[in-house]
Point group: C2
Chain length 195, copies 2
């Protein structure tokens, strides 16, 4: 039992450490030796937990995905559905600002690096975007029903554009290291929602 | 003179061939040998034109940037400033669709791969995004003056959100290989502009 917990801790340590390597340098540019060096886990032990670099990559994305969806859940706060959507986008902005716009969005990065060549990676990322869209669309539908929504667009369409604008804004702020690039996107989202 | 023209043709051939490799597999994952193999240009000749892989990468981005800005210029067509903006976004959608949403946007890809680690790459990409924003903002300002603009947001802010939405939409469509992801973003942009 204690042994199992130790194994889980090792797995968790590998996932979190590899995530920060992947954010910094991408999947292709990361070797198994980089992961061994950074985690301090022996090769045999690493392969006990994961069959290949691809399996580690998929598991890192799945782990980050669960974490992001929990973060998202917590970020939908406020007295109205509109406030929930805006506060959620604001929380993502703050996360990016905390990191000085270095690293960007792991899912966006992996999307651009991996989705043409590896459909398993693409499937995990698509699922994150899709759950994020659904969460937004649910709140936007409520906002529409309560009459607080400025834009007269179908919720699922508006939700998709919000995800795209956030991802594109994160990309632009990452290039310029200027918070205004993402802040401007946020201002347009706010205006779309609450006029 | 003929020799100079041949040199220019070789340089052009290296740039265009390397661009398609970079779109497919990124900068870090591309070696000088990949470029030699794909172009058929001898190593000595390659280094005659470019001092390093970094110099090739920068030159590819600059060449693609000039081409994209010409494409953008041509895409601003239509009877009104609003129509020009919408048709330009539509032209980008069609380019992506022509490639079946494979490869995505070279600048977006390079932004996510290179902008934290190499400020020279970041500067070229930032310049593309900034010129694209300015071009859109100019048309949106005209649209505002002529009273055809639906959104009541400052042109530079709306322009930035349009670039972010297009880049994010290209990313999402690249993951899903579903044209609807970018088409939905386009629909929101259209609604922002012409109501």
């Amino acid at each position: 039992m204690a042994e199992m917990r130790k194994g889980e801790r090792t797995r968790e340590h590998i996932l979190k450490t590899t995530r920060s390597i992947l954010v910094a340098q991408g999947f292709h540019n990361t070797t198994i030796n980089d992961i061994i060096r950074a985690t301090g886990v022996k090769k045999g032990n690493l392969y006990y937990h994961f069959a290949s670099k691809e399996e580690i990559g998929i598991a890192v994305l799945q782990d980050a995905s669960r974490e992001f969806l929990r973060f998202l859940e917590d970020s939908f706060q406020g007295p109205t559905a509109c406030a929930k959507v805006i506060n959620s986008c604001q929380a993502i902005f703050q996360e990016q600002q905390k990191n000085n716009f270095v690293g960007g969005c792991l899912f966006g990065n992996a999307a651009l690096e991996m989705s043409d060549s590896n459909r398993r990676f693409a499937a995990v990322i698509q699922d994150v975007f899709s759950q994020w869209c659904n969460k937004l669309a649910g709140a936007l539908m409520q906002a529409g029903e309560s009459g607080c929504l400025a834009a007269s667009l179908p919720p699922h369409l508006l939700a998709k554009a919000i995800v795209a604008t956030m991802e594109g804004g994160i990309m632009m702020a990452r290039v310029s290291k200027d918070p205004a690039d993402l802040a401007d996107c946020l201002a347009v989202i706010k205006s779309l929602i609450s006029g």
